[in-house]
Symmetry: C2
Subunit: 276 residues, 2 copies
Protein backbone atom coordinates (compact mmCIF):
# COMPACT_ATOMS: atom_id res chain seq x y z
CA UNK A 1 0.00 0.00 0.00
CA UNK A 2 0.92 3.65 -0.37
CA UNK A 3 0.45 5.47 2.91
CA UNK A 4 0.59 9.26 3.25
CA UNK A 5 1.37 10.83 6.59
CA UNK A 6 0.42 14.51 6.82
CA UNK A 7 2.37 16.38 9.49
CA UNK A 8 5.77 15.07 10.55
CA UNK A 9 5.81 15.98 14.23
CA UNK A 10 6.23 13.43 16.99
CA UNK A 11 2.99 11.63 16.11
CA UNK A 12 3.31 11.68 12.32
CA UNK A 13 7.06 11.09 12.41
CA UNK A 14 6.58 8.06 14.65
CA UNK A 15 3.91 6.67 12.30
CA UNK A 16 6.35 6.99 9.38
CA UNK A 17 9.21 5.34 11.25
CA UNK A 18 7.01 2.54 12.57
CA UNK A 19 5.47 1.81 9.17
CA UNK A 20 8.95 1.73 7.60
CA UNK A 21 10.31 -0.49 10.37
CA UNK A 22 7.48 -3.00 10.63
CA UNK A 23 5.81 -3.12 7.20
CA UNK A 24 6.63 -3.01 3.47
CA UNK A 25 4.32 -0.12 2.71
CA UNK A 26 5.51 2.89 0.74
CA UNK A 27 5.44 6.03 2.90
CA UNK A 28 4.78 9.50 1.49
CA UNK A 29 5.40 12.38 3.89
CA UNK A 30 3.79 15.80 3.62
CA UNK A 31 4.80 18.64 5.92
CA UNK A 32 4.27 22.39 5.90
CA UNK A 33 7.94 23.06 6.67
CA UNK A 34 9.90 21.48 3.83
CA UNK A 35 13.14 21.22 5.83
CA UNK A 36 11.45 18.74 8.16
CA UNK A 37 10.19 16.64 5.25
CA UNK A 38 13.72 16.59 3.84
CA UNK A 39 15.10 15.53 7.21
CA UNK A 40 12.52 12.70 7.36
CA UNK A 41 13.53 11.59 3.87
CA UNK A 42 17.23 11.59 4.76
CA UNK A 43 16.48 9.66 7.95
CA UNK A 44 14.68 7.00 5.90
CA UNK A 45 11.42 7.68 7.76
CA UNK A 46 9.63 8.33 4.45
CA UNK A 47 10.16 7.09 0.89
CA UNK A 48 9.09 10.29 -0.81
CA UNK A 49 8.13 13.88 -0.07
CA UNK A 50 4.56 14.31 -1.25
CA UNK A 51 2.47 17.15 -2.64
CA UNK A 52 -1.33 17.44 -2.52
CA UNK A 53 -1.36 15.70 -5.92
CA UNK A 54 0.37 12.65 -4.37
CA UNK A 55 -2.74 12.00 -2.27
CA UNK A 56 -4.28 10.42 -5.38
CA UNK A 57 -1.74 7.55 -5.17
CA UNK A 58 -2.51 6.74 -1.51
CA UNK A 59 -4.56 3.90 -0.01
CA UNK A 60 -4.33 5.27 3.52
CA UNK A 61 -3.89 8.90 4.57
CA UNK A 62 -2.96 9.57 8.18
CA UNK A 63 -3.54 13.13 9.34
CA UNK A 64 -1.17 14.01 12.16
CA UNK A 65 -2.11 17.66 12.53
CA UNK A 66 -3.86 19.78 15.16
CA UNK A 67 -7.59 18.91 15.16
CA UNK A 68 -8.94 21.88 13.21
CA UNK A 69 -5.94 21.86 10.86
CA UNK A 70 -6.80 18.26 9.94
CA UNK A 71 -10.29 19.32 8.83
CA UNK A 72 -8.88 22.35 6.98
CA UNK A 73 -6.38 20.16 5.13
CA UNK A 74 -9.08 17.83 3.83
CA UNK A 75 -11.39 20.70 2.94
CA UNK A 76 -8.60 22.11 0.83
CA UNK A 77 -7.19 18.94 -0.74
CA UNK A 78 -9.99 16.34 -0.42
CA UNK A 79 -10.59 16.36 -4.17
CA UNK A 80 -7.16 14.78 -4.78
CA UNK A 81 -7.97 11.69 -2.67
CA UNK A 82 -8.84 8.55 -4.59
CA UNK A 83 -12.20 6.86 -4.20
CA UNK A 84 -12.28 4.27 -1.44
CA UNK A 85 -9.03 5.41 0.19
CA UNK A 86 -8.97 5.41 3.99
CA UNK A 87 -8.45 8.76 5.71
CA UNK A 88 -7.85 8.78 9.43
CA UNK A 89 -6.92 11.53 11.86
CA UNK A 90 -4.91 11.05 15.03
CA UNK A 91 -6.54 13.69 17.11
CA UNK A 92 -7.17 13.65 20.84
CA UNK A 93 -10.75 14.81 20.40
CA UNK A 94 -13.43 13.22 18.28
CA UNK A 95 -16.88 14.83 18.49
CA UNK A 96 -15.49 18.16 17.35
CA UNK A 97 -13.97 16.90 14.10
CA UNK A 98 -15.42 13.50 13.14
CA UNK A 99 -18.72 14.89 11.77
CA UNK A 100 -16.87 17.36 9.48
CA UNK A 101 -14.47 14.69 8.24
CA UNK A 102 -17.32 12.21 7.71
CA UNK A 103 -19.19 14.81 5.68
CA UNK A 104 -16.07 15.51 3.60
CA UNK A 105 -15.61 11.76 3.02
CA UNK A 106 -19.08 11.60 1.47
CA UNK A 107 -18.41 14.65 -0.67
CA UNK A 108 -15.11 13.27 -2.02
CA UNK A 109 -15.79 9.52 -1.99
CA UNK A 110 -13.12 8.39 0.49
CA UNK A 111 -13.68 6.47 3.75
CA UNK A 112 -13.15 8.38 7.00
CA UNK A 113 -12.28 6.49 10.19
CA UNK A 114 -11.50 8.45 13.36
CA UNK A 115 -8.53 7.27 15.36
CA UNK A 116 -6.40 8.32 18.31
CA UNK A 117 -3.02 6.75 19.10
CA UNK A 118 -2.64 6.82 22.90
CA UNK A 119 1.01 7.71 23.06
CA UNK A 120 3.18 10.80 23.20
CA UNK A 121 5.97 12.49 25.04
CA UNK A 122 6.51 15.70 26.95
CA UNK A 123 8.43 17.03 23.95
CA UNK A 124 7.35 17.54 20.35
CA UNK A 125 8.61 17.51 16.82
CA UNK A 126 10.10 15.09 14.31
CA UNK A 127 13.39 14.90 16.20
CA UNK A 128 11.80 13.07 19.14
CA UNK A 129 9.62 10.78 17.01
CA UNK A 130 10.52 7.10 17.14
CA UNK A 131 9.58 3.82 15.51
CA UNK A 132 8.57 2.26 18.81
CA UNK A 133 6.52 5.11 20.27
CA UNK A 134 3.36 3.03 19.81
CA UNK A 135 4.74 -0.20 21.26
CA UNK A 136 2.01 -1.73 23.45
CA UNK A 137 -0.04 1.48 23.40
CA UNK A 138 -3.76 1.60 22.72
CA UNK A 139 -5.13 2.64 19.31
CA UNK A 140 -8.64 4.00 19.67
CA UNK A 141 -10.85 3.79 16.58
CA UNK A 142 -14.15 5.64 16.14
CA UNK A 143 -15.58 4.04 12.98
CA UNK A 144 -18.13 6.81 12.25
CA UNK A 145 -20.00 4.48 9.86
CA UNK A 146 -17.00 3.15 7.92
CA UNK A 147 -17.35 -0.39 6.47
CA UNK A 148 -15.96 -3.31 8.50
CA UNK A 149 -13.31 -4.30 5.97
CA UNK A 150 -11.82 -0.80 5.94
CA UNK A 151 -11.77 -0.68 9.75
CA UNK A 152 -9.98 -4.03 9.73
CA UNK A 153 -7.31 -2.73 7.32
CA UNK A 154 -6.58 0.19 9.65
CA UNK A 155 -6.68 -1.96 12.80
CA UNK A 156 -4.28 -4.45 11.21
CA UNK A 157 -1.85 -1.72 10.32
CA UNK A 158 -2.01 -0.46 13.93
CA UNK A 159 -1.28 -3.93 15.32
CA UNK A 160 1.60 -4.44 12.86
CA UNK A 161 3.34 -1.23 13.88
CA UNK A 162 3.25 -2.13 17.55
CA UNK A 163 -0.01 -1.06 19.15
CA UNK A 164 -0.98 -3.50 21.89
CA UNK A 165 -4.71 -2.79 21.95
CA UNK A 166 -7.22 -1.64 19.37
CA UNK A 167 -10.28 -0.14 21.06
CA UNK A 168 -13.42 0.51 18.98
CA UNK A 169 -15.74 3.14 20.38
CA UNK A 170 -17.94 6.16 19.64
CA UNK A 171 -16.73 9.77 19.49
CA UNK A 172 -18.86 10.49 22.57
CA UNK A 173 -17.36 7.74 24.72
CA UNK A 174 -13.88 8.57 23.45
CA UNK A 175 -14.20 12.20 24.46
CA UNK A 176 -15.69 11.40 27.88
CA UNK A 177 -12.93 8.90 28.69
CA UNK A 178 -10.09 11.02 27.29
CA UNK A 179 -11.23 13.96 29.42
CA UNK A 180 -10.43 11.71 32.39
CA UNK A 181 -7.42 9.69 31.25
CA UNK A 182 -5.49 12.36 29.37
CA UNK A 183 -6.84 15.91 29.61
CA UNK A 184 -7.39 15.94 33.38
CA UNK A 185 -3.77 14.86 34.13
CA UNK A 186 -2.54 17.69 31.90
CA UNK A 187 -4.66 20.29 33.73
CA UNK A 188 -3.45 18.81 37.01
CA UNK A 189 0.22 18.85 36.08
CA UNK A 190 0.08 22.53 35.08
CA UNK A 191 -1.91 23.49 38.18
CA UNK A 192 0.49 21.53 40.38
CA UNK A 193 3.71 23.16 39.18
CA UNK A 194 2.20 26.64 39.67
CA UNK A 195 2.77 26.24 43.43
CA UNK A 196 5.40 28.71 44.73
CA UNK A 197 7.21 25.65 46.21
CA UNK A 198 7.85 24.12 42.80
CA UNK A 199 11.01 25.98 41.75
CA UNK A 200 12.70 24.77 44.99
CA UNK A 201 11.64 21.13 44.84
CA UNK A 202 15.08 19.64 44.19
CA UNK A 203 16.42 17.65 47.12
CA UNK A 204 12.89 17.38 48.53
CA UNK A 205 11.30 15.37 45.77
CA UNK A 206 11.12 11.86 44.38
CA UNK A 207 8.86 9.79 42.15
CA UNK A 208 5.57 11.40 43.24
CA UNK A 209 6.68 14.87 42.18
CA UNK A 210 8.20 13.57 38.97
CA UNK A 211 5.09 11.67 37.93
CA UNK A 212 2.46 14.33 38.66
CA UNK A 213 4.50 17.15 37.13
CA UNK A 214 5.76 15.28 34.05
CA UNK A 215 3.27 16.49 31.47
CA UNK A 216 3.28 20.11 32.72
CA UNK A 217 5.87 20.82 30.04
CA UNK A 218 2.91 21.23 27.76
CA UNK A 219 2.33 22.46 24.21
CA UNK A 220 -0.02 25.21 25.37
CA UNK A 221 -1.54 25.97 21.96
CA UNK A 222 -2.37 22.36 21.10
CA UNK A 223 -3.80 21.59 24.54
CA UNK A 224 -5.84 24.80 24.65
CA UNK A 225 -7.51 23.64 21.43
CA UNK A 226 -8.06 20.12 22.80
CA UNK A 227 -9.51 21.40 26.10
CA UNK A 228 -11.83 23.92 24.45
CA UNK A 229 -13.12 21.41 21.90
CA UNK A 230 -13.90 18.98 24.73
CA UNK A 231 -15.29 21.49 27.21
CA UNK A 232 -18.26 19.64 28.66
CA UNK A 233 -16.69 16.26 29.53
CA UNK A 234 -13.57 18.00 30.83
CA UNK A 235 -15.50 20.45 33.03
CA UNK A 236 -17.49 17.50 34.41
CA UNK A 237 -14.24 15.71 35.33
CA UNK A 238 -12.72 18.88 36.78
CA UNK A 239 -15.78 19.39 38.98
CA UNK A 240 -15.61 15.78 40.21
CA UNK A 241 -11.91 16.13 40.93
CA UNK A 242 -12.18 19.46 42.77
CA UNK A 243 -15.02 17.97 44.79
CA UNK A 244 -12.97 14.92 45.78
CA UNK A 245 -9.87 16.96 46.66
CA UNK A 246 -12.09 19.23 48.75
CA UNK A 247 -13.57 16.24 50.63
CA UNK A 248 -10.08 15.10 51.60
CA UNK A 249 -9.09 18.66 52.51
CA UNK A 250 -12.16 19.07 54.71
CA UNK A 251 -11.39 15.82 56.55
CA UNK A 252 -7.83 17.04 57.19
CA UNK A 253 -9.08 20.44 58.34
CA UNK A 254 -11.59 18.82 60.70
CA UNK A 255 -8.90 16.42 61.94
CA UNK A 256 -11.39 13.66 61.15
CA UNK A 257 -9.03 10.73 60.89
CA UNK A 258 -11.73 8.13 60.29
CA UNK A 259 -13.29 9.95 57.31
CA UNK A 260 -9.84 10.76 55.93
CA UNK A 261 -8.70 7.14 56.09
CA UNK A 262 -11.97 6.03 54.45
CA UNK A 263 -11.49 8.48 51.58
CA UNK A 264 -7.90 7.35 51.01
CA UNK A 265 -9.01 3.75 51.25
CA UNK A 266 -11.30 4.37 48.26
CA UNK A 267 -8.23 5.16 46.17
CA UNK A 268 -6.55 2.01 47.38
CA UNK A 269 -9.64 -0.07 46.53
CA UNK A 270 -10.07 1.32 43.01
CA UNK A 271 -6.43 0.59 42.17
CA UNK A 272 -6.53 -2.87 43.74
CA UNK A 273 -9.72 -3.79 41.85
CA UNK A 274 -7.98 -2.77 38.62
CA UNK A 275 -4.99 -4.92 39.55
CA UNK A 276 -2.70 -1.87 39.47
CA UNK B 1 29.79 0.15 63.66
CA UNK B 2 26.75 -1.65 65.00
CA UNK B 3 23.59 -0.31 63.43
CA UNK B 4 20.09 -1.15 64.64
CA UNK B 5 17.14 -0.85 62.31
CA UNK B 6 13.77 -0.75 64.09
CA UNK B 7 10.89 -1.81 61.87
CA UNK B 8 11.59 -4.09 58.91
CA UNK B 9 9.04 -2.84 56.37
CA UNK B 10 10.01 -1.50 52.97
CA UNK B 11 11.98 1.43 54.42
CA UNK B 12 13.72 -0.41 57.28
CA UNK B 13 14.24 -3.56 55.22
CA UNK B 14 15.84 -1.53 52.44
CA UNK B 15 18.15 0.19 54.94
CA UNK B 16 19.27 -3.23 56.23
CA UNK B 17 19.87 -4.63 52.76
CA UNK B 18 21.70 -1.49 51.59
CA UNK B 19 23.94 -1.36 54.68
CA UNK B 20 24.79 -5.04 54.25
CA UNK B 21 25.44 -4.61 50.53
CA UNK B 22 27.50 -1.42 50.61
CA UNK B 23 29.22 -1.33 54.03
CA UNK B 24 30.87 -3.59 56.59
CA UNK B 25 28.66 -2.52 59.47
CA UNK B 26 26.95 -5.07 61.69
CA UNK B 27 23.16 -4.84 61.32
CA UNK B 28 20.76 -5.64 64.16
CA UNK B 29 17.09 -5.85 63.19
CA UNK B 30 14.18 -5.33 65.56
CA UNK B 31 10.61 -5.91 64.43
CA UNK B 32 7.29 -6.32 66.25
CA UNK B 33 6.40 -9.39 64.19
CA UNK B 34 9.14 -11.93 64.86
CA UNK B 35 8.47 -13.92 61.67
CA UNK B 36 9.55 -10.91 59.61
CA UNK B 37 12.75 -10.51 61.64
CA UNK B 38 13.50 -14.20 61.05
CA UNK B 39 12.86 -13.78 57.34
CA UNK B 40 15.26 -10.82 57.28
CA UNK B 41 17.91 -12.87 59.08
CA UNK B 42 17.51 -15.78 56.66
CA UNK B 43 17.71 -13.38 53.72
CA UNK B 44 21.00 -12.01 55.06
CA UNK B 45 19.49 -8.53 55.40
CA UNK B 46 20.46 -8.44 59.11
CA UNK B 47 23.24 -10.08 61.13
CA UNK B 48 21.19 -10.55 64.28
CA UNK B 49 17.67 -10.23 65.62
CA UNK B 50 17.79 -7.64 68.38
CA UNK B 51 15.93 -7.01 71.61
CA UNK B 52 15.58 -3.66 73.41
CA UNK B 53 18.71 -4.60 75.37
CA UNK B 54 20.69 -4.82 72.11
CA UNK B 55 20.23 -1.07 71.64
CA UNK B 56 23.08 -0.62 74.16
CA UNK B 57 25.53 -2.11 71.61
CA UNK B 58 24.54 0.22 68.80
CA UNK B 59 26.29 3.30 67.39
CA UNK B 60 23.43 4.22 65.09
CA UNK B 61 19.75 3.44 65.55
CA UNK B 62 17.45 3.93 62.56
CA UNK B 63 13.75 4.11 63.40
CA UNK B 64 11.68 2.95 60.44
CA UNK B 65 8.28 3.10 62.09
CA UNK B 66 5.13 5.23 61.71
CA UNK B 67 5.87 8.72 63.09
CA UNK B 68 4.14 8.45 66.48
CA UNK B 69 5.30 4.85 66.92
CA UNK B 70 8.91 6.04 66.56
CA UNK B 71 8.45 8.45 69.48
CA UNK B 72 6.67 5.77 71.53
CA UNK B 73 9.51 3.30 70.92
CA UNK B 74 12.16 5.69 72.21
CA UNK B 75 10.01 6.72 75.17
CA UNK B 76 9.80 3.06 76.11
CA UNK B 77 13.34 1.90 75.37
CA UNK B 78 15.45 5.10 75.37
CA UNK B 79 17.20 4.11 78.59
CA UNK B 80 18.91 1.19 76.80
CA UNK B 81 20.63 3.45 74.26
CA UNK B 82 24.31 4.16 74.91
CA UNK B 83 25.57 7.67 75.47
CA UNK B 84 26.56 9.47 72.26
CA UNK B 85 24.82 6.99 69.96
CA UNK B 86 23.03 8.49 66.94
CA UNK B 87 19.27 7.96 66.74
CA UNK B 88 17.50 8.94 63.53
CA UNK B 89 13.94 8.47 62.35
CA UNK B 90 12.88 8.10 58.73
CA UNK B 91 9.55 9.78 58.94
CA UNK B 92 7.83 11.85 56.29
CA UNK B 93 6.98 14.59 58.80
CA UNK B 94 9.37 16.45 61.03
CA UNK B 95 7.81 19.24 63.14
CA UNK B 96 5.42 16.79 64.77
CA UNK B 97 8.07 14.41 66.08
CA UNK B 98 11.51 16.07 66.11
CA UNK B 99 10.89 18.12 69.29
CA UNK B 100 9.81 14.98 71.24
CA UNK B 101 12.78 12.97 69.99
CA UNK B 102 15.19 15.84 70.72
CA UNK B 103 13.82 16.07 74.26
CA UNK B 104 14.23 12.32 74.71
CA UNK B 105 17.82 12.53 73.42
CA UNK B 106 18.65 14.99 76.20
CA UNK B 107 16.96 12.84 78.78
CA UNK B 108 18.85 9.69 77.73
CA UNK B 109 22.15 11.16 76.49
CA UNK B 110 22.01 10.05 72.86
CA UNK B 111 22.15 12.30 69.75
CA UNK B 112 18.96 12.73 67.77
CA UNK B 113 19.13 13.69 64.08
CA UNK B 114 15.92 13.83 62.05
CA UNK B 115 16.02 12.30 58.59
CA UNK B 116 13.75 11.37 55.71
CA UNK B 117 14.80 9.06 52.89
CA UNK B 118 12.94 10.26 49.76
CA UNK B 119 12.14 6.88 48.30
CA UNK B 120 9.36 4.33 48.45
CA UNK B 121 7.02 2.22 46.40
CA UNK B 122 3.29 1.80 45.97
CA UNK B 123 3.56 -1.43 47.98
CA UNK B 124 4.79 -2.05 51.50
CA UNK B 125 6.51 -4.61 53.69
CA UNK B 126 9.85 -6.38 53.94
CA UNK B 127 9.15 -8.48 50.84
CA UNK B 128 9.36 -5.46 48.54
CA UNK B 129 12.38 -3.88 50.28
CA UNK B 130 15.56 -3.77 48.25
CA UNK B 131 19.22 -2.85 48.63
CA UNK B 132 19.01 -0.26 45.86
CA UNK B 133 15.79 1.49 46.85
CA UNK B 134 17.81 4.57 47.83
CA UNK B 135 19.99 4.68 44.73
CA UNK B 136 20.28 8.35 43.65
CA UNK B 137 17.45 9.40 45.97
CA UNK B 138 17.62 12.39 48.29
CA UNK B 139 18.29 11.96 52.01
CA UNK B 140 16.89 14.90 53.94
CA UNK B 141 18.51 15.63 57.31
CA UNK B 142 17.04 17.96 59.95
CA UNK B 143 19.93 18.30 62.42
CA UNK B 144 17.81 19.62 65.33
CA UNK B 145 20.95 20.85 67.11
CA UNK B 146 23.08 17.70 66.69
CA UNK B 147 26.87 18.23 66.53
CA UNK B 148 28.51 18.49 63.09
CA UNK B 149 30.62 15.34 63.43
CA UNK B 150 27.57 13.21 64.20
CA UNK B 151 25.67 14.69 61.24
CA UNK B 152 28.66 13.87 59.04
CA UNK B 153 28.67 10.23 60.21
CA UNK B 154 25.00 9.88 59.25
CA UNK B 155 25.43 11.74 55.95
CA UNK B 156 28.39 9.54 55.05
CA UNK B 157 26.42 6.40 55.73
CA UNK B 158 23.61 7.72 53.52
CA UNK B 159 26.02 8.43 50.63
CA UNK B 160 27.65 5.01 51.02
CA UNK B 161 24.36 3.14 50.73
CA UNK B 162 23.42 4.92 47.53
CA UNK B 163 21.68 8.22 48.24
CA UNK B 164 22.55 10.74 45.54
CA UNK B 165 21.84 13.90 47.53
CA UNK B 166 22.03 14.81 51.20
CA UNK B 167 19.88 17.86 51.92
CA UNK B 168 20.24 19.63 55.27
CA UNK B 169 17.21 21.65 56.34
CA UNK B 170 14.89 22.61 59.19
CA UNK B 171 11.79 20.65 60.23
CA UNK B 172 9.68 23.64 59.12
CA UNK B 173 11.11 23.81 55.60
CA UNK B 174 11.02 20.02 55.31
CA UNK B 175 7.33 19.89 56.16
CA UNK B 176 6.42 22.78 53.86
CA UNK B 177 8.28 21.24 50.91
CA UNK B 178 7.08 17.69 51.54
CA UNK B 179 3.47 18.89 51.62
CA UNK B 180 4.06 19.92 48.01
CA UNK B 181 6.41 17.24 46.66
CA UNK B 182 4.94 14.17 48.31
CA UNK B 183 1.69 14.65 50.21
CA UNK B 184 -0.12 16.68 47.54
CA UNK B 185 0.50 14.04 44.81
CA UNK B 186 -0.94 11.40 47.15
CA UNK B 187 -4.11 13.43 47.78
CA UNK B 188 -4.33 14.05 44.05
CA UNK B 189 -3.90 10.42 43.08
CA UNK B 190 -6.68 9.29 45.42
CA UNK B 191 -9.00 12.11 44.34
CA UNK B 192 -8.28 11.34 40.68
CA UNK B 193 -9.14 7.64 40.77
CA UNK B 194 -12.46 8.38 42.53
CA UNK B 195 -13.88 9.50 39.16
CA UNK B 196 -16.64 7.17 37.93
CA UNK B 197 -14.61 6.88 34.68
CA UNK B 198 -11.65 5.26 36.40
CA UNK B 199 -12.78 1.61 36.50
CA UNK B 200 -13.22 1.73 32.69
CA UNK B 201 -9.94 3.45 31.81
CA UNK B 202 -8.29 0.48 30.08
CA UNK B 203 -7.90 0.95 26.35
CA UNK B 204 -8.36 4.70 26.80
CA UNK B 205 -5.30 5.43 28.87
CA UNK B 206 -1.55 5.79 28.60
CA UNK B 207 1.30 7.35 30.57
CA UNK B 208 -0.65 10.34 31.90
CA UNK B 209 -3.21 8.13 33.63
CA UNK B 210 -0.54 5.76 34.90
CA UNK B 211 1.60 8.50 36.39
CA UNK B 212 -1.11 10.53 38.14
CA UNK B 213 -2.86 7.45 39.55
CA UNK B 214 0.25 5.50 40.57
CA UNK B 215 0.37 6.35 44.27
CA UNK B 216 -3.40 6.05 44.78
CA UNK B 217 -2.75 2.49 45.94
CA UNK B 218 -2.07 4.06 49.30
CA UNK B 219 -1.47 2.84 52.86
CA UNK B 220 -4.47 4.77 54.17
CA UNK B 221 -3.55 4.54 57.87
CA UNK B 222 0.03 5.76 57.44
CA UNK B 223 -0.92 8.59 55.11
CA UNK B 224 -3.82 9.71 57.30
CA UNK B 225 -1.31 10.13 60.11
CA UNK B 226 1.16 11.98 57.86
CA UNK B 227 -1.53 14.32 56.48
CA UNK B 228 -2.99 15.13 59.90
CA UNK B 229 0.41 15.79 61.45
CA UNK B 230 1.21 18.20 58.61
CA UNK B 231 -2.18 19.86 58.36
CA UNK B 232 -1.25 23.50 57.84
CA UNK B 233 1.34 23.24 55.05
CA UNK B 234 -0.80 20.62 53.30
CA UNK B 235 -4.00 22.67 53.48
CA UNK B 236 -2.07 25.67 52.12
CA UNK B 237 -0.89 23.59 49.15
CA UNK B 238 -4.37 22.13 48.61
CA UNK B 239 -5.88 25.61 48.53
CA UNK B 240 -3.27 26.79 46.01
CA UNK B 241 -3.88 23.74 43.85
CA UNK B 242 -7.69 23.99 43.92
CA UNK B 243 -7.35 27.67 43.06
CA UNK B 244 -5.11 26.94 40.07
CA UNK B 245 -7.30 24.11 38.76
CA UNK B 246 -10.30 26.43 39.11
CA UNK B 247 -8.56 29.18 37.12
CA UNK B 248 -7.98 26.75 34.24
CA UNK B 249 -11.54 25.44 34.53
CA UNK B 250 -12.95 28.97 34.42
CA UNK B 251 -10.96 29.80 31.29
CA UNK B 252 -12.28 26.64 29.62
CA UNK B 253 -15.85 27.45 30.69
CA UNK B 254 -15.54 31.00 29.37
CA UNK B 255 -13.99 29.69 26.13
CA UNK B 256 -11.21 32.18 26.79
CA UNK B 257 -8.48 30.66 24.69
CA UNK B 258 -5.93 33.37 25.37
CA UNK B 259 -6.14 33.12 29.17
CA UNK B 260 -6.19 29.31 28.96
CA UNK B 261 -3.04 29.19 26.82
CA UNK B 262 -1.33 31.67 29.17
CA UNK B 263 -2.14 29.49 32.20
CA UNK B 264 -0.85 26.35 30.50
CA UNK B 265 2.22 28.26 29.35
CA UNK B 266 3.05 28.89 33.03
CA UNK B 267 3.34 25.14 33.54
CA UNK B 268 5.58 24.88 30.51
CA UNK B 269 7.80 27.73 31.77
CA UNK B 270 8.24 26.35 35.28
CA UNK B 271 9.29 22.95 33.93
CA UNK B 272 11.59 24.47 31.33
CA UNK B 273 13.28 26.72 33.93
CA UNK B 274 13.90 23.62 36.05
CA UNK B 275 15.41 21.85 33.03
CA UNK B 276 12.76 19.11 33.28
Amino acid sequence: MNIAVIGLGIIGGSFCKAIKKYTDNFVIGINRTQATAEKALEAGAIDKIGTPESLGECDIIILALYPQAAVDFIEKYGSYIKSGAIVTDSSGIKRAICPSLSALSKKYGFVFIGSHPMAGKETNGFDVSEADLYKNASYIITPCGAPEDKIEILANLARKIGFGTVKITTPEEHDRMIAFTSQLPHVLACSYVMSPCCPNHKGFSAGSYRDVSRVANINSQLWSELFLENREPLITELDILIDNITKIKDAIKAEDRETLAELLEQGHKVKTALGE
